[in-house]
Symmetry: C2
Subunit: 549 residues, 2 copies
């Protein structure tokens, strides 16, 4: 039987590893690639998807199309057992697991986004990892414009028209540039929004934008973005986020209903479960890309810490997590696996970057290629051409080109495709003083306080207000069960708070089906209604059960 | 102040009503249109979106772009108060309501899909009402092909490769034709699927397809679809549906994991709340399109029952719910509102259809235009040209044309864009005998039985199996709380059953945040674990609390 090479991950690293392995070892080994989705995501194009200049399907390509001769499996990896050389996976939405064996294992798991260090950010920020993120962001931005065009409340309008990007690396800068262009080109449809009301902010912890590029190019990009009306806050971190605000590390609070986080890259949690040596959470590989102290496990791309010299210590001694390097690593990986099978010596990784490119939106870019520096339109054109050449498949190339051409000529479409309002359970964060809901609001769900403190005010029978203070574990908003549709009381956060929100529909389905819960709320609502009707004195009300809505 | 005309609904009827009103009354009245989304959906193109021959954004167009001079508001209507001439709306995701007044109200609310008469269908079938539906269907079909390509289980593969469309009217036939084409063109990427394994079925209650068309054309369509390998079941209704099967009215059960329902059109629930005369759930209008016994309320399109002669009785005496008629109605509506404002007499509705067109996918169609009958490629070309001419805006026209051309030349993209796995609470239906989950499966959620009866088998300590029978209100699967990740027992439906499923993540968040629930399950799981460890006799186990997983 032929040796089996199993690749986990279908990003730049995994996809090109499969391609290169097939090129040099087709017929001699069996190659299989396992990925969560059936397509390769061309991440550098996601900001363009978010801006609507290309469509979702042009930023992705089916792995099967890209990898003829390679077995592609769409599955999620549950466990890797190094001792028995097997990987346990779940295919699609199947609940039955499947075991896949290997002779050589290639870990190309990339990185994940971990925003848990920033309270509220993971619950309220968009990320730019996959094509759904980009698609949702685009619809979200248009939704904010729609809403801003009709709202009568100046404070709300200000929040709606403030768009925030966190992080000013490649992804952050391209996102903020494309987002600004989308907004600028859409404004003609919104007669009640004045261009001066738009605020687009990028927040960066470092002291400059585009740390990946030379100082002079970054400085050009900085000036150009500012000239286009983008506000850049350097040396500024994020302390917390809510659905309507960002608090910076300086303590500044600004209202915003759109937050895109391009920070927080973290090692893949799956990699942590694999029993191999790690360094800084990444696979600890030799310069040959073989994982230290193993014979048949390899790693490349963002999930591996790849030394580029023998006594690598400094950050710049290791391969940077870019597509350009991943493609080079893939080439070496195929060569070294071939050498291993043939018993020849392995080659160490060594590569010098040929340059860097960034799009700034609005047909401007910055580039450094083979030592040459380009700015403005020429850099942007180079960026497009480079990525077009990179795009896999003639159909995709042609379609992207057609889209780019038609986008230059035609007006941009501001259609908003609503993915249905998300059901289920979500966390929502509030700052001290925020109103969670008020009397007369649509009753949209059931709230349980997870952290913080809130104050609830309900009108009593005799016109006196009943005031309750709720803490973690207390709940409110369960009057949606009574079906009036509108809130009777007002709830405000007294401290920074985190609540668990269950949509009204889901809450009703759950209490309906589940007798223990139904009994609890029947009892609770009865007591509550009685308490409200009796219009208790403030002393009595303090003892009343916490929870109402 | 100018009289205010308020239009509710932005489909064919509402959009064209706004257009025609603006054309004939611009400057004399204020026109406002309120719609749930910011775009007009070109419904006849949704099957093409689902098949991937055009993209989502080409089947929709922004209402603001289509309606210059008309105020467009993206909002959901909460209530209409005829007495005070005000409409209460919620804008976007806002929870604060807004009141909008009118002098003339135009109800163009269309129809909704109501599948509640068919057990399981609303929880397991796709509909084809908006662009998200089409988008999700496309991704679902590709997901089934991905899964079928790798599964080892023949029974599962058969279910995965059976695609069912319910209803053989325009929408059903176009959907089944386009779906078949998508599958046929995708198969080359799935080496383990043989074309003979694909089964595409359309189920129709009537005794023929395309009841809207003359017999001879319908018969041509029928033969052509059969020739292309589509199975057509006439005189067959749907009795029930689950996630893996359809039961027909004949009692036949066939396995299928893709169900598209194009039946079940029902009057808009909002219309029922408006205090005006109704007939068969639709607005009861005079031939002038004015709602009977009102002065200033008008209705058109699918939500109105529009007589085309004075003593209308028969079905054919009323305007059919098609786009062609809606556009004509819109023209008359504008004329009659103008006449009302000027005090002139109103004109009754009268229109004869100019023909009908249907696409069958695979570049074939059927058409009857001005009495002429066309079939095959010429009918299909006419269909495309007709809809292209209909498409609003030059950009959209050009883009759709480019897409159609490139689709003829290039291979179709089988990329699957996963919208995240839906969280929250959903209903799942099972037939008697179905396995809900089995030992070793991934623990994907918490189940509460709503209807029916299930049997649970858990291995006891001494190797004996514990068997429990659960009924409505009982729950199982709560061991996800213990976090082992895999099921320890097996659950089967003893009767046709309906369960409420809460995803594992949401269940954990909820029990975590909500003390009453946490206490209940802590107690429950403790008792359960004790019971299992004691390995009770069958008699004892029958008394144990129902619920486990």
């Amino acid at each position: 039987m032929k040796p089996r090479v199993l690749i986990l991950g279908g990003g730049f690293a995994g996809m090109f590893a499969a391609k290169e392995l097939h090129r040099s070892l087709a017929g001699q080994v069996e190659i299989e690639l396992i990925n969560e989705t059936n397509h390769f995501v061309f991440q550098p194009l996601l900001p363009e998807v978010a801006a609507g200049s290309i469509t979702t399907r042009d930023a992705i390509a089916p792995l099967r199309l890209l990898l003829p001769g390679v077995k592609v499996r769409q599955a999620s990896v549950f466990d890797v057992d190094v001792a028995s050389k097997t990987v346990t996976i779940f295919q699609g939405l199947q609940r039955r697991y499947t075991q896949v064996s290997y002779d050589h294992l290639v870990l190309a798991l990339g990185q994940v986004v971990d925003l848990s260090r920033f309270p509220g950010l993971s619950d309220h920020a968009f990320t730019m990892k996959n094509v759904s993120d980009a698609f949702r962001l685009r619809n979200h931005v248009i939704d904010k414009l729609e809403h801003a065009d009709i709202t009568q409340l100046p404070e709300v309008k200000k929040e709606l028209l403030t768009f925030t990007v966190i992080g000013a690396g490649f992804s952050g800068i391209e996102t903020v540039g494309e987002m600004k262009e989308l907004i600028d080109r859409s404004l003609k449809f919104y007669p009640n929004i004045d261009p001066s009301e738009i605020r687009v902010v990028v927040v960066e912890f470092a002291d400059r934008v585009l740390a990946e590029l030379p100082e002079s190019l970054a400085s050009y990009a900085h000036k150009l973005l500012e000239k286009r009306g983008i506000e850049i806050k350097l040396k500024t971190g994020v302390a917390r986020a809510t659905g309507t605000s960002v608090t910076t590390s300086d303590g500044e609070v600004f209202g915003t209903r759109t937050i895109v986080a391009t920070i927080g890259n973290a090692p893949s949690p799956l990699l942590q479960k694999v029993d191999i040596p790690k360094a800084h959470g990444r696979a600890d590989v030799e310069r040959t890309l073989r994982v230290r102290s193993t014979e048949n496990i390899w790693s490349l791309g963002d999930c591996a810490l790849i030394p580029m010299k023998d006594d690598a210590k400094d950050r710049k001694d290791f391969a940077p997590p870019t597509a350009q390097f991943a493609v080079r690593e893939a080439r070496l990986l195929a060569r070294n696996i071939k050498a291993t099978l043939e018993g020849s010596p392995l080659t160490p990784f060594d590569y010098k970057s040929k340059g860097a490119l960034a799009s700034l939106g609005g047909r401007r870019g910055v580039a450094e290629v083979f030592g040459m520096r380009l700015t403005g339109f020429s850099a942007w054109l180079l960026w497009r051409t480079y990525y077009l050449s990179f795009l896999p498949g003639f159909s995709t190339k042609l379609r992207v080109l057609l889209n780019w051409v038609s986008d230059s000529v035609l007006s941009r479409n501001t259609v908003q495709v609503k993915t249905q309002i998300q059901g289920g359970v979500s966390y929502v964060h509030y700052r001290a003083g925020d109103r969670i809901f008020e009397r007369g609001n649509r009753a949209d769900g059931f709230y349980t306080l997870v952290e913080g403190k809130v104050e609830q005010r309900i009108p009593g029978e005799d016109g006196k207000e009943i005031v309750r203070v709720l803490g973690p574990g207390d709940h409110f908003g369960e009057r949606v069960l009574l079906g009036s549709g509108l809130r009777t009381g007002t709830v405000r956060a007294l401290e920074d708070s985190k609540v668990l929100l269950l949509t009204a529909e889901d809450f009703l389905r759950l209490t309906d089906a589940f007798p223990a819960l139904k009994a609890y709320f029947d009892d609770h609502v009865t007591r509550l209604t009685a308490a409200t009707l009796k219009a208790p004195t403030p002393a009595a009300s303090a003892d009343a059960p916490a929870g109402n809505g």
